[in-house]
């Protein structure tokens, strides 16, 4: 609750950050937030979040970049859409969370396991055209290192039963035929997106 601490030191606001956030595709929609708290009471994982979505948007306005991009809030979001359905201002919070994840990764706030998972998933799509689950897992564990691999071994019963029931193919499917074209499309989309953000 650092936000409520009484301190004589001047509070540092980073107004550029609020501007930066409100210029993202969906972040701009969060400007309409009226702080009603409906998302906070509805959220599937709010007990685990550093800040509820409502509070997070308030911190954005206050320009608290480190607290926002360094928080686990967007990473704990499961994209369950409960808040999106209920927000009286029609803010697509799930998509705003996507932008926040995107910003966090781009600015190297990547300490949460979910950031590694997201990157692993995307690498798989980029290299194969499809997300082979075994490949996503392998990339994720490599990124996270030994601690996570140990945890994986602790769950070996789960992996074994999935293998036994034919739910965990070990051989990846073939890359899609149009992989090169897909990669060209992605490259172009990224270039257009950067241009649009300017």
């Amino acid at each position: 609750m650092a936000d409520n601490n009484v301190s004589s030191a001047p509070i540092k606001y980073d107004h550029n950050f609020a501007q930066e956030f409100f210029s993202t595709e969906n972040g701009r929609l969060a400007q309409k937030c009226m702080q009603c708290g409906m998302c906070a009471v509805s959220c599937a994982t709010k007990d685990l979040m550093d800040h509820s979505p409502r509070r997070l948007f308030n911190l954005v306005r206050a320009g608290k970049k480190d607290e926002v991009l360094g928080s686990n809030t967007m990473w704990m979001c499961t994209s369950c859409c409960t808040c999106k359905v209920r927000c009286p201002r029609g803010i697509p919070l799930v998509d705003v969370m996507h932008d926040l994840k995107n910003m966090a990764i781009a600015q190297n706030y990547v300490s949460y396991p979910q950031a590694a998972f997201y990157q692993a998933f995307w690498q798989e799509v980029l290299n194969r055209g499809r997300a082979f689950e075994g490949g996503v897992m392998a990339r994720y564990y490599l990124k996270r290192g030994w601690g996570e691999i140990k945890k994986a071994f602790e769950m070996k019963d789960l992996g074994m039963s999935m293998l036994k029931h034919g739910r965990l193919p070990m051989v990846p499917p073939r890359k899609i035929k149009g992989l090169k074209e897909l990669q060209q499309i992605i490259e172009k989309a990224q270039a257009l997106q950067r241009k649009e953000a300017k």
């Binding site: 595709e25 969906n26 599937a44 994982t45 685990l48 967007m74 704990m76 499961t78 994209s79 369950c80 859409c81 409960t82 999106k84 359905v85 969370m97 996507h98 932008d99 994840k101 995107n102 990764i105 396991p113 979910q114 590694a116 998972f117 997201y118 990157q119 998933f121 995307w122 798989e124 799509v125 055209g129 499809r130 997300a131 082979f132 689950e133 075994g134 897992m137 994720y140 019963d157 039963s161 029931h165 034919g166 739910r167 965990l168 193919p169 499917p173 899609i176 035929k177 149009g178 074209e181 897909l182 060209q184 499309i185 992605i186 172009k188 989309a189 990224q190 257009l192 997106q193 649009e196």
Partner: protein
């Protein structure tokens, strides 16, 4: 009735029983499915966290561009794929600026999408295109007395709110269960989130959600759960053992895709039931209907 099928990545892996049952059930109902040729991953709700919504939606749109020449509705089973494809489609149809920009990107791969298709969730298609009467008429093995919790999960009904069912208290799944002769139990957690892709990254979320959902099903007398979502299915089925360990429970509730239950009720060949793929054994619950290992 013809459809373009978008299977999605999970149906090549953890959700194989979904695909196996969908294909045969659809055929039995006179639906003609054509898989979108060379489809790619839709990006789910994951890719946009890395590359942004625009790029993710362009990636998803490649599939719609590949399907557009046929003109059939695009049939989607996975809730995350549905989220991604349905929202992308909507943007093509309602946002001119987006459509132009997205088509500029697609053109780099020699493609274009005009936004003429409909993206449909398979549960919705069963109710609205096929109809409960026709489904009930096709039943050869009525599942009379089987108590089923219809677990819809979150994204299926909330990705595009009010597209086809109540996002807070969905009823389509219960109606379908009824049409198969089974009894849908009261199930307040039918649309609660299962923790989705947090299974690897924050396992506790999935275990806690699983505990709540399974307990709710059990308390209401369910003998099994059925779902239209690959993540819900996987989290509740594969992680049920860990839920038992963590919370000192004794859950033994099979979790099937709703299309598997349809394949059983239609008395289609057992390969389409895909019961061998299930981690929590469904045989005890199905024994009264003459189904044994």
């Amino acid at each position: 009735m013809k459809y373009s099928l978008y299977p999605g990545c999970s149906m090549e892996g953890t959700a194989v029983p979904y695909l196996k049952s969908i294909e045969v059930v659809a055929e039995a109902l006179g639906m003609h499915l054509e898989e979108i040729p060379d489809w790619n991953c839709c990006g789910a709700t994951i890719a946009s966290g890395v590359v942004g919504d625009f790029t993710q939606q362009v990636v998803a749109a490649r599939n719609l561009a590949l399907a557009e020449p046929k003109g059939y509705d695009v049939l989607v089973g996975c809730s995350s794929c549905y989220f991604s494809l349905a929202l992308t489609n909507r943007r093509f149809q309602t946002d001119d600026h987006f459509r132009q920009m997205a088509n500029e990107a697609l053109a780099a791969g020699g493609l274009r999408y005009n936004g003429t298709l409909r993206v449909r969730q398979i549960l919705e298609v069963m109710i609205n295109d096929i109809g409960l009467d026709k489904i009930a008429a096709r039943v050869k093995r009525p599942l009379t007395g089987l108590k089923v919790a219809g677990y819809v999960g979150c994204q299926t009904v909330r990705a595009v709110p009010w597209e086809f069912d109540d996002p807070e208290d969905p009823v389509f799944m219960d109606k379908l269960i009824e049409a198969l002769g089974a009894t849908p139990v009261k199930f307040p957690m039918k649309a609660k989130c299962c923790g989705s892709s947090q299974a690897l990254t924050a396992t506790d979320i999935v275990l806690a959600a699983g505990n709540d959902i399974l307990q709710c099903a059990l308390d209401n007398g369910a003998q099994m759960l059925v779902t239209p979502c690959p993540m819900c299915q996987l989290n509740l089925d594969a992680y049920q053992g860990m839920v038992n360990q963590q919370f000192g429970k004794n859950f033994n509730l099979p979790v099937l895709f709703f299309t598997q239950l349809m394949a059983i009720a239609f008395d289609l060949p057992p390969a389409a039931w895909a019961l061998k793929n299930m981690i929590v054994s469904p045989y005890e619950a199905l024994a009264p209907f003459g189904i044994n290992r």
